[in-house]
C-alpha cells in the first residue's frame, strides 16, 4: 500500500474544494432540494476553479491527476453538506468523458474535452434502458448505418442531467445480437449533440436529490454523423467497462463524505440537546451507534482509497472498487439513518438537514449497480463460485 494519508497536494485539493463548497451551505442545498432548482452557480464555481478537469489530460487543459485526487475532491463536495445534490451535479464530468479521453480521435479530444472542462458543454450519459437495466448487452437502442452516419432509435432511463445537457454520450447496438459472437460485441458509443427535436427527455419524480434530475429518453430518428462515433464501431461495451471501476470508487467516496456530514451533525446535536438535565450524547445508547458509524465510514473509506490507489497504479481494482462501493454506500446510509434517529423528532424535520441526507444516502445503495450484483461479482471473481444468473 502506498500510504494511509493524503499527500500535501491532495490536502491542497481538499482545501481548495472545501473553500468553494463553503460558499454553499446546507440552507442552499435544502432550497435546491425543495425547489428542484439546479445548483447552477455551484457548478459554475467548480468549473471556474478548473475542478471539472481534475482527471483530464494536461494537454487539453486538465490537471492530469488520478482517481485518488478525484475521489478526494468528490468526497469533499459531499462532505461539505452538499451531499449527492452537489456531488451528482458534477460527478458525470469527472469520469463520464473517459471513453473520449481513452478512445476518442485526436480531433475529438482536442475539440471536445476543453469544452467539457470549462463547463461550456454539459454532457449526459445514456446507458441504462427500461428493458435491460444492468444487463447492458441486452440493450435495445439501435444505431443503423446510413449513407452519412447513423440513425439512432430507442429508449433510455435514469439519464442524469438530460434537461440541461447539450451533449449526449450514448451506447446503442450497431450489430444485432444474433450476428455477433458474444452479446457484448456489436455495441457502439457515440458522443453527439443532444438534439431535442429527436430526443424527448422527461424527468422522473424521485425520492431525493430533486435538483439534479434523472430522465427517461425517447430517441426518435436521431441522426449522428460518422465523426461522432467514439473509437471503433462494435467496441462500445469494452469502452464502457473502463469507466465502471472509477465510478464505483467515486460513489464510495461520495457516500462516505455524506455519511461524515451526517455524523458530524448528529454529534453536534447530541452534545447540545439536553434532556433529563444532561446532553443526550452522554447516553451510551446515543454514543455507540454514532461511534459505530464512524468506524464503518472510515473502514469503507480505506477500501475506497485502496481501490483508487490500485487503479492509479494501473493494477486491477475490480474487487476492491466493487467492495468499496458496497461498504461506502452501506456505511453512508447507516450514518445518515443514525443521524436522523439521534435527532429524534427533529431528524424528521427538514430544517435539521439530516432528513435530506438520509434520502440521498439511498442513491449510492442503488446506483450505479445494486448491492446484489456487487456481491455476485465478488462471489464469482474473488471466491470462484459458480455464476448464479
Amino acid at each position: 500500500m502506498s500510504s494511509f494519508w493524503l499527500t500535501e497536494e491532495q490536502e491542497a485539493i481538499r482545501e481548495g474544494v472545501a473553500k468553494v463548497c463553503a460558499k454553499y451551505g446546507d440552507d442552499y442545498w435544502l432550497k435546491t432540494d425543495d425547489t428542484g432548482r439546479y445548483p447552477e452557480d455551484f457548478v459554475a464555481d467548480m468549473a471556474e476553479g478548473g475542478w471539472l478537469g481534475v482527471v483530464m489530460p494536461e494537454r487539453v487543459g486538465g490537471a492530469g491527476l488520478g482517481l485518488t485526487e478525484a475521489a478526494v475532491m468528490m468526497q469533499t463536495v459531499a462532505q461539505s453538506g452538499a451531499g449527492f445534490s452537489g456531488a451528482s451535479s458534477i460527478h458525470l464530468n469527472i469520469f463520464g468523458p473517459m471513453p473520449l479521453v481513452k478512445f476518442g480521435s485526436d480531433a475529438q479530444r482536442e475539440m471536445l474535452l476543453p469544452r467539457i472542462i470549462s463547463g461550456e458543454d454539459k454532457m449526459c450519459f445514456a446507458v441504462t434502458e427500461p428493458n435491460s437495466g444492468l444487463d447492458t448487452s441486452s440493450l435495445e437502442t439501435r444505431a443503423e448505418r446510413t449513407n452519412d452516419g447513423y440513425l439512432i432509435n430507442g429508449r433510455k432511463i435514469w439519464t442524469t442531467g438530460a434537461q440541461r445537457a447539450n451533449k449526449i454520450l450514448i451506447i446503442a447496438r450497431t450489430t444485432p445480437k444474433d450476428q455477433v459472437a458474444k452479446p457484448t460485441q456489436g455495441l457502439s458509443l457515440f458522443y453527439t449533440d443532444l438534439n431535442r427535436e429527436h430526443i424527448e427527455a422527461n424527468p422522473i419524480p424521485k425520492m431525493g436529490r430533486k435538483a439534479v434530475e434523472c430522465n427517461t429518453l425517447f430517441i426518435d430518428n436521431l441522426k449522428v454523423p460518422f465523426e461522432d462515433l467514439v473509437g471503433e464501431e462494435g467496441k462500445g461495451f469494452q469502452y464502457l467497462l473502463h469507466g465502471l471501476n472509477p465510478e464505483r470508487v467515486l460513489f464510495a467516496a461520495e457516500a462516505v463524505g455524506l455519511g461524515r456530514a451526517a455524523l458530524a451533525r448528529a454529534a453536534t446535536y447530541a452534545n447540545e440537546r439536553v434532556v433529563f438535565g444532561r446532553p443526550i450524547g452522554q447516553n451510551q445508547g446515543i454514543q455507540h451507534p454514532l461511534a459505530k458509524s464512524w468506524a464503518e465510514l472510515e473502514a469503507a473509506n480505506l477500501m475506497a482509497f485502496k481501490a483508487a490507489a490500485l487503479y492509479d497504479a494501473g493494477k486491477d481494482c475490480g474487487a476492491e472498487a466493487n467492495a468499496a462501493k458496497y461498504l461506502g454506500a452501506e456505511a453512508g446510509f447507516r450514518a445518515c439513518e443514525t443521524a436522523v434517529l439521534t435527532h429524534g423528532g427533529m431528524g424528521y424535520a427538514k430544517e435539521y438537514f439530516v432528513e435530506r441526507y438520509f434520502r440521498e444516502a439511498m442513491i449510492a445503495r442503488i446506483a450505479p449497480v445494486s448491492r446484489e450484483m456487487i456481491l455476485n461479482f465478488i462471489a464469482e471473481r474473488v471466491l470462484h463460485l459458480p455464476k448464479s444468473y
Partner: protein, 249 residues
C-alpha cells in the same frame, strides 16, 4: 517591480484554540493550520498588482517549521512566483522575524513589502513596523486600499474614526487590513502549477540572526467561560437589572 510577501503559518481561524493542560501554550497537536488570514489578503493584493502589470514578481517568505512550506505553496497556488522558507522550530519573536526579513530583503531588493498587519496567533501587530524601522523605509499600516504609481504608493489606512490616505516613496512596507480585498481560492490548474514553482529552504543562521529570543511565556490561560443568562418576566424587570446588576443605565 518585485513584491515580497511574508506569510505565516498559524492555527486555522475556524479552529477553537485550546490551551495545553500545563498552560505553557496553545495545543497545536493535530490542529488544522492555515495561512494567517491577513497574510492571505497581502498575497491577494500582490497577485492583483501582478495581474494589473504593476508587479512583475512575487516572492513569498515564511519563517517556521518544515510544514510552513505548505503555507508558501498556498501562496504560490494563489499566484506568487517563488518562495523562501527560513526553517526553524523555534517560535520566533517579532523583532527576530523583522531581522530575518530585513536580511532576505537586502538580498532580494523588492520594490514593495506587502504583509498582513498581524498574525492571528500572537496578535502582536509588530513585525511590519519593526521591519520598516530596521530598513529605514516608509511604512503604511492597516491598509484598506493600495495603489502603486511610478515610484510612489498611495495607501488608504483605516484609522480610528475614519480613513487616512498617505503617499509613500518606494520601496516601502505596507501592512494589510481586513477590508483590503477578499482573497481568491486557489484553482486546480494553479495548485498544479504551484508544485513546479521553486522554494528555497534556508536556516536563520544563513542570515546571521539568532532566533533564541528575549521573551518567556509564563502562563497561557483560556478566557473565562460564559455563564448562562437569565430570563426576565417583563420590561420593568429588565430595566431594573440593567440599572442595578449590569450598571449600563
Amino acid at each position: 517591480m518585485k513584491v515580497l510577501v511574508p506569510v505565516k503559518r498559524v492555527i486555522d481561524s475556524n479552529v477553537k484554540a485550546r490551551v495545553k493542560p500545563d498552560q505553557t501554550g496553545v495545543d497545536l497537536a493535530n490542529v488544522k493550520m492555515s495561512m494567517n488570514p491577513f497574510c492571505e489578503i497581502a498575497v491577494e493584493e500582490a497577485v492583483r498588482m501582478k495581474e494589473k502589470g504593476v508587479a512583475d514578481e512575487i516572492v513569498a517568505v515564511s519563517i517556521g517549521p518544515v510544514q510552513a512550506q505548505e503555507t508558501i505553496r498556498t501562496a504560490l497556488a494563489m499566484g506568487a512566483d517563488r518562495g523562501v522558507l527560513i526553517q526553524t522550530d523555534t517560535d520566533v519573536e517579532p523583532l527576530e522575524v523583522a531581522k530575518l526579513l530585513k536580511a532576505v530583503i537586502e538580498q532580494e531588493a523588492p520594490g514593495l513589502v506587502l504583509m498582513g498587519k498581524q498574525a492571528i496567533d500572537g496578535d502582536n501587530n509588530a513585525v511590519g513596523q519593526m521591519l520598516a524601522a530596521l530598513l529605514d523605509w516608509p511604512q503604511a499600516t492597516f491598509a484598506s486600499k493600495v495603489e502603486v504609481s511610478g515610484q510612489t504608493v498611495k495607501v488608504t489606512r483605516e484609522v480610528d474614526g475614519g480613513l487616512q490616505t498617505l503617499e509613500l516613496d518606494l520601496p516601502a512596507v505596507v501592512t494589510a487590513d481586513l477590508r483590503l480585498n477578499e482573497p481568491r481560492y486557489a484553482s486546480l490548474p494553479n495548485i498544479m502549477k504551484a508544485k513546479k514553482k521553486p522554494i528555497d529552504v534556508k536556516a536563520p543562521a544563513d542570515y546571521g540572526v539568532d532566533v533564541a529570543g528575549h521573551l518567556k511565556v509564563l502562563k497561557v490561560t483560556e478566557p473565562p467561560k460564559r455563564t448562562a443568562g437569565v430570563k426576565v418576566e417583563n420590561a420593568a424587570e429588565l430595566v431594573a437589572k440593567l440599572k442595578t446588576e449590569a450598571g449600563v443605565l
